[in-house]
C-alpha cells in the first residue's frame, strides 16, 4: 500500500470527517486494558533510554550505525508504512470496495519492493548516501537535492501532523479520549524515544510495533472467519447480501471504468498504481528507504525489502479480510444486518461509517485484555508511522539542508545535536499541523494531493539517474520540476473543470481514484521526457564521475557465495510466484 498518496490514505483520511460525532464511543476500556496500553508506553520509553548510549555519532543517530540485520531492517521497512490510519482506512475501503482494496498491498507494493531490493539497492548502498536527496546531489547536483529535500521535509512533517490528528480522532471515537490528551501523550513518547536513540530507536520500536500490530489485530479475522463459516461461506453470504457488487474478485471487473466500484481500469492499476505510484513510493520515499540504508551489509540491504514483501503480502489478512467480514457479520442491536456508510450519509439509522469496521469487529470479539491489545496495536501503528516521519525529517534536514547550506564545517557531535533538535522541532511542527487540520479539515485532502505531486516525478528522475549514463544534472533538475508542475497543473485543471477528467484519466466514468493513478502516470512521463530532451542538449558527466551511481558505471561488490536459502534472487523468485498465485486465486 502507498499510504501517503491520494490514492491510498487519501480516501481514509478524507473519510475521517465522520469521526466528528461528539459523545459517541464504541468501546470502554477496563483496568486490564489500561494496563496493557501502559505497559506498551513503558516499553517504548525503556527502549529509547536504553539506546541513548548507542546514538553518539551522526552515523549512529541518523543511520543506526548501519548495523541492522536484514530482518530488522525489513520489518522496520514495512512497519514504517503500516500506520493505524492504514489499518482502519483500508479495512473501511475493503468494506466499501471489496477485495479491490488489496491491489494496494499486492501489485501496489510487491513488484516495487522486489525491484528496490534486487536492482536499486546496490546504487543507494554503494554510493553510501545518507538520504534519497543525498543520492540526487551525487548524481544530479545541488539544485536537485534542494528541491527534493525541501519538498520532502515539508510534506513529511505535515503528513505527520495529519496522521497525528487522525489518530487522536480515532481514539476519541473509539474510546472517548480527549483529542489533546491523545496528541500530546503519543507525540511526546515518540519525541522522547527518537530524540534519545535516533534511527536505531525508531527502527527497534517499529519492529516491536509490527509484532504488536499482528498480536492485536490477527485475532479478529481468525474469529471472524470461524463465525462466517470459512472463506467460501463468506463469499456466498456477501453475494447473497449484495447482489449487484463483486466484492471478492480483484481483476474481473477491471475491463471498464464503469464495471467496478472504484471506477478504475486495469491500465490504471497496472501502470499507474503498480508502476509509477508504487515504485515512486517504495523506491524513492526516504521515509521507507532510510530503514534499508541502515542495513549492515549490501546483502542485508537487498534482503530487507524482500523479507518486507512477504509480510506486506500477508497484511490484507488483518486489514482487507476484516472489511469483507464486516459486510456479513456486523449486526444492529435488533439483529438486522448493519450497513456502514460514507461520512456524508451518517444518520440515526446508519450511525457507523466504513472506517469503523475494524474497531466494531474488535469490540465484537475482544474482551478485557484483548481489546487493550487491539487498541495498543492501533496506537503502535500510529507511533511507528510518526517515528518514521520525524526520523526521516531529522536526517534530511541535517544532511541535506543544514550541513550543506547553513553550517558546513561543524563537528560531528554538533550535527547529532542538530538532529535531536530537528526531531523535537519536527514533533512540535507536527502538533501544530494537527491543530491546523483540526480547525480546517479540508486541508487534509490538499495535503494528500500535495504529497502525491512529488512522488511520481521523483521516480522518473531517480530511474533516469540510475539507469541512463547520459542523463545530465540539468536534465534531472528540469525533469523533476516539469513532472511536479505537470502533476500540480493536472490537479488544478480537474478541480476547475471536472470534465477534464475524461482527458486526464481517459474516461468520463473515471472516479477520483483513477484520476490519481493517471495523473501520476502523466507526471512521470513528462518528467522522463523532459529529462531526456534536456540531457541530450547538455553535457553529460564522465564515466569516472558516475562510478557508484549509475548502472553500467558501477562495480557491484561481490560478497562471496551463499547457500540458496540466503540468496536474495531465490527468495524474490518465491515471492513473485506467490504474488502471481494470490492474484490468480482472487482473480
Amino acid at each position: 500500500m502507498v499510504p501517503l498518496l491520494t490514492t491510498a490514505a487519501g480516501q481514509s483520511i478524507s473519510s475521517l470527517a465522520m469521526f466528528f460525532q461528539p459523545g459517541k464511543t464504541l468501546a470502554h476500556l477496563t483496568a486490564l486494558d489500561v494496563i496493557v496500553i501502559a505497559v506498551y508506553f513503558a516499553m517504548v520509553l525503556w527502549i529509547g533510554f536504553y539506546l541513548k548510549k548507542q546514538a553518539n555519532t551522526s552515523e549512529e543517530f541518523f543511520m543506526a550505525g548501519r548495523e541492522m540485520t536484514a530482518w530488522i531492517a525489513g520489518l522496520s521497512f514495512v512497519s514504517a508504512n503500516l500506520g493505524s490510519l492504514e489499518l482502519m482506512g483500508w479495512a473501511g475501503s475493503a468494506y466499501q470496495y471489496g477485495i479491490l482494496a488489496a491491489h494496494w498491498y499486492w501489485i501496489g507494493a510487491i513488484p516495487a519492493m522486489l525491484f528496490l531490493g534486487l536492482v536499486m539497492m546496490p546504487f543507494y548502498y554503494v554510493s553510501k548516501t545518507h538520504s534519497v536527496p543525498g543520492y540526487l546531489k551525487l548524481r544530479f547536483g545541488e539544485s536537485s537535492r534542494v528541491l527534493a529535500a525541501v519538498s520532502f521535509g515539508f510534506m513529511t512533517i505535515l503528513m505527520s501532523g495529519v496522521n497525528m490528528f487522525a489518530m487522536a480522532v480515532v481514539m476519541k471515537v473509539v474510546l472517548g479520549w480527549d483529542i489533546t490528551f491523545s496528541i500530546f501523550v503519543s507525540s511526546i513518547a515518540v519525541a522522547i524515544y527518537v530524540t534519545l536513540g535516533g534511527l536505531r530507536s525508531a527502527i527497534f520500536n517499529e519492529v516491536l510495533q509490527f509484532v504488536l500490530i499482528w498480536a492485536g489485530a490477527l485475532l479478529v479475522p481468525i474469529l471472524g472467519l470461524i463465525q462466517a463459516g470459512g472463506w467460501h461461506n463468506l463469499q456466498a453470504k456477501i453475494l447473497l447480501n449484495y447482489h449487484n457488487q463483486d466484492y471478492t474478485h480483484m481483476w474481473r471487473g477491471m475491463d471498464h471504468f464503469a464495471n467496478n466500484p472504484m471506477g478504475v481500469h486495469w491500465t490504471g492499476i497496472v501502470f499507474g498504481l503498480g508502476f509509477v505510484i508504487s515504485f515512486g513510493y517504495w523506491t524513492t520515499d526516504f521515509l521507507v528507504v532510510q530503514r534499508v540504508l541502515a542495513a549492515n551489509s549490501l546483502r542485508s540491504a537487498q534482503m530487507a525489502p524482500i523479507i518486507a514483501s512477504v509480510f506486506k503480502m500477508a497484511v490484507p489478512f488483518i486489514v482487507i479480510l476484516p472489511g469483507l467480514l464486516g459486510l456479513v457479520l456486523l449486526q444492529n442491536p435488533d439483529g438486522t444486518l448493519m450497513h456502514l456508510v460514507g461520512e456524508n450519509a451518517l444518520s440515526a439509522a446508519n450511525p457507523h461509517s466504513y472506517n469503523e469496521v475494524l474497531p466494531l469487529l474488535m469490540v465484537r470479539y475482544c474482551g478485557p485484555g484483548l481489546l487493550g491489545l487491539g487498541i495498543t496495536a492501533l496506537i503502535a501503528g500510529f507511533m511507528s508511522g510518526m517515528a518514521g516521519n520525524v526520523s526521516a525529517f531529522s536526517a534530511v534536514w541535517t544532511y541535506d539542508i543544514y550541513q550543506p547550506h547553513i553550517n558546513k564545517n561543524a563537528t560531528d557531535s554538533h550535527y547529532v545535536a542538530i538532529g535531536r533538535w530537528a526531531t523535537i522541532l519536527g514533533v512540535m511542527v507536527s502538533i501544530g499541523a494537527a491543530y491546523l487540520v483540526m480547525n480546517a479539515q479540508g486541508i487534509m485532502d490538499y495535503v494528500q494531493a500535495l504529497f502525491s505531486f512529488f512522488i511520481a516525478p521523483l521516480l522518473g528522475t531517480i530511474l533516469a539517474g540510475m539507469f541512463w549514463k547520459r542523463a545530465t544534472s540539468a536534465g534531472g533538475f528540469w525533469g523533476l520540476l516539469a513532472g511536479t508542475f505537470t502533476s500540480v497543473g493536472l490537479y488544478i485543471w480537474v478541480k476547475i473543470n471536472h470534465s477534464a477528467l475524461s482527458i486526464v484519466a481517459f474516461s468520463p466514468n473515471a472516479k477520483d481514484m483513477a484520476e490519481n493513478l493517471y495523473r501520476a502516470l502523466w507526471s512521470f512521463v513528462v518528467c522522463v521526457g523532459v529529462t531526456f530532451v534536456v540531457s541530450m542538449l547538455t553535457k553529460p558527466k564522465t564515466l569516472d564521475e558516475l562510478s557508484g551511481l549509475v548502472y553500467g558505471a558501477t562495480v557491484i561488490p561481490y560478497e562471496g557465495p551463499v547457500p540458496l536459502y540466503k540468496n536474495h534472487w531465490f527468495w524474490a523468485s518465491i515471492v513473485i510466484v506467490v504474488f502471481f498465485i494470490l492474484n490468480l486465486i482472487f482473480w
Binding site: V207, V211, A215, L223, Q227, N296, V363, P368, G369, L370
Partner: protein
C-alpha cells in the same frame, strides 16, 4: 549490532510475555468464575489460547535472546 547490546527480539519477548500472562490470566479467571465478557464466540475461550500463544512466543524470545553477561 553493538556486541553488548540487548537484542530487539528480547524486548519483544518481554512484551509478549507480559501480555500473554495478563491475557491468559484473565482468560483462566473467566473460565474459573464463569463470568464471561459480553463478546461473540466466548465459548472459543480466545483469551486462553491467544494469551497462551503470546506467552509461549514471549518466553521463547526471552530465553533465546536473553542478554549475555559482559
Amino acid at each position: 549490532m553493538h556486541s553488548s547490546s540487548i537484542s530487539i527480539w528480547f524486548f519483544i519477548g518481554v512484551l509478549l510475555t507480559i501480555y500473554g500472562a495478563l491475557i491468559l490470566g484473565y482468560g483462566v479467571s473467566e473460565w474459573v468464575t464463569g463470568h464471561y465478557a459480553n463478546v461473540q464466540l466466548v465459548h472459543y475461550h480466545a483469551p486462553i489460547w491467544w494469551g497462551a500463544i503470546l506467552l509461549a512466543l514471549g518466553l521463547f524470545y526471552d530465553l533465546k535472546f536473553k542478554p549475555s553477561p559482559k
